[in-house]
Homo-oligomer: 373 residues x 2
């Protein structure tokens, strides 16, 4: 089912090749899935020199996932099919600082409304995904010591959402969702990918051997590395000169404000850079150098196949160019020999795709239930 959902297989024959199962076993199980209403047959595919395959796809009635990617003041909502492809999206203003109960209740309500408005009432909801701008304990689905989410510490987000919807819930850090989405959407054949999210904060998600690396829940933090800089700035974490305190969108906004240039959102910095405002360009280049320096050590250590730069600031070309330059200059040739450095391709829907992918990964339970019927 996963092979069909990810688009890697479109026919029984491809399923057999990729899964390693015998063709006869594949046929049997595909038939079960069709009978259960999860798969649908859709015409014939292109011939590869012999009989044309009968194309398989997920049935529309197989189900949907509802996904919300929360930021500090904003949530991106989506209803997606089981492959993670968005069927309907919406934006919701909400202040995460009002606490988990109110925020999540509003989000779940809006997700339901979204699905209803787009004629999905007859399609069962198979899971809910929540992206949060803070560290999440994968075992419990709780937020742990978030810096900018008052009231959320140790709140059982997963249980709360499952309780209010009755379906499996996935709770994950926003950068991690983005990393899974980028990998699944744009680099599925690469094993090791690093995804940096440059927005008002600096986040990072890591794919190792094709799977999200969570560590003990804190993996992927790159924002509190000490950097070398002339001016000393204290970071919210209590240490001086963290990367985030110098190079995040929020830090850039503050430094621009000190020069008389007022910005409210990181995307406005991108606009200023595009307009050629010199203070903005210079600030962004400095940030790029700092971020690049930190990434140098991580690229040498982790030796990824690709480094993807996303988040709203990734549209500032000088920023990306500077990062790229620093990495190619300072890293070991062996580490950069085959390294792709690219900007996000999936864009804002990467997290939806990522959540869909992870939700499908925990779908074994309900799939089995559906098949038994």
């Amino acid at each position: 089912m996963r092979l069909v959902a990810t688009g890697r297989a479109e026919s029984r024959a491809e399923l057999a090749r990729l899964s390693g199962l015998a063709a006869s076993s594949v046929s049997l199980r595909v038939e079960q899935l069709i009978d259960a209403g999860l798969f649908a047959e859709e015409g014939a595919g292109a011939s590869r020199g012999g009989r044309r395959p009968r194309r398989l796809r997920l049935a529309r009635e197989a189900g949907v996932f509802l996904v919300a990617d929360l930021g500090a003041h904003h949530a991106r909502l989506a209803a997606a099919d089981l492959a993670g492809t968005p069927l309907a999206v919406a934006d919701l203003d909400c202040d995460i600082a009002v606490g988990p109960e109110r925020t999540l209740t509003a989000v779940v309500e809006s997700l339901r409304a979204l699905a209803r408005e787009h004629g999905l009432h007859d399609v069962p909801v198979r899971g809910v995904g929540i992206g949060l701008p803070g560290p999440v304990d994968p075992a419990t689905g709780q937020v742990v010591s978030p810096s900018r989410m008052p009231g959320w510490n140790d709140f059982p987000v997963r249980d709360f959402v499952t309780g209010h919807t009755g379906v499996p819930a996935l709770v994950e850090n926003d950068a991690n969702l983005m990393a899974v989405g980028e990998h699944r959407g744009s680099w599925p054949s690469l094993d090791n990918v690093m995804v940096i999210k440059l927005g008002s904060g600096i986040g990072c998600g890591v794919i190792v051997a094709g799977r999200l690396h969570r560590g003990r829940g804190a993996a992927g933090d790159i924002s509190h590395v000490r950097i070398l800089s002339e001016a000393s700035v204290d970071c919210s974490c209590g240490h001086p000169d963290c990367l985030e305190a110098h190079a995040s969108g929020a830090a850039l906004a503050a430094s621009l404000a000190a020069q008389g240039v007022v910005v409210e959102h990181p995307s406005q910095i991108v606009d200023l850079v595009a307009d050629g405002v010199p203070q903005a360009t210079s600030a962004v280049r400095t940030a790029g150098r700092l971020i690049g320096d930190v990434l140098t050590a991580l690229v040498n250590f982790f030796n990824p196949d690709a480094l993807v730069i996303g988040g709203s600031l990734s549209n500032a070309e000088p920023l990306v160019a500077t990062i790229r330059g620093v990495i190619y200059e300072r890293c070991l040739p062996l580490a950069t020999r085959n390294l792709e450095i690219a900007t996000s391709r999936a864009g804002r829907d990467a997290s939806v795709l990522g959540a869909g992918h992870l939700l499908l990964g925990m779908a074994d339970d309900w799939i089995e239930r559906v098949l038994e019927r």
Copy 2:
């Protein structure tokens, strides 16, 4: 077979529990393995409240692995059982700079002699493992752009060794072997482990999700990260102020030599520190601070369960204490909350154990052949 070799299972019942196979299937296959001479039954184990299990272990005649861990001027040789436990060890002086053919021929010959001398002539050799102090391409078993191994670049080490022995050969970076061995021997239940090898150079191996992370072959490099320091030193890699140029055993020896203290081998630095020679202690503390700074970023990023410090310098207590202090002070609390920082437990035999573990992992082919007979 792997479960028995690693000591995780000692009876058919344990195999069934851990493998997920049905007890009846386990019994069948164990019988095959015993018939083929790979397993042996050995008395009864401790009762867990019912009938006592019949203990299983690898048969002596099942085979041995031959392992050589090469350094710049020295090789550690061992014959090990299929579990990686050393049955016989030896040391060999050899200069790696004479090139791969001569070095490997001598090593293979000495390994054969070692096995012969210890009465293992009747036991089949199932594989040969070679540890090298440079980057190895996992796909081809070749060394790639090693800095201190003249003549080895792109030499097909694996094919050469297989050609001269007729058995599967494993070629791997020395720090990687050590990492696998430490993980397998001392921290088998942890998923994510970082192992640092502090000797005349600085190496690092990474275990992610229980498996060795190789990246594109260069993963685990931490020695060419730029550090901040007053005195500028050029590194062999062409960049200034790499960690290795300041904090490796070789760098420490050079800096001590400049102060009139002559050392030839990193272990002598440990002796000097133990004797309380102030220049040595001070040098080692400075190195610890630099290494700790670099590790801080990596610990935040990778969020391991354990950080193991090995190599000959790991016996210098002030060095380890300084590293530990820097990490606990600078890392995110979330990253250090459950972090173990320990020194090597397996010591010099870690690489042997690691090679054995990896060789058993690629043993499917010959096991199948043995069973078919």
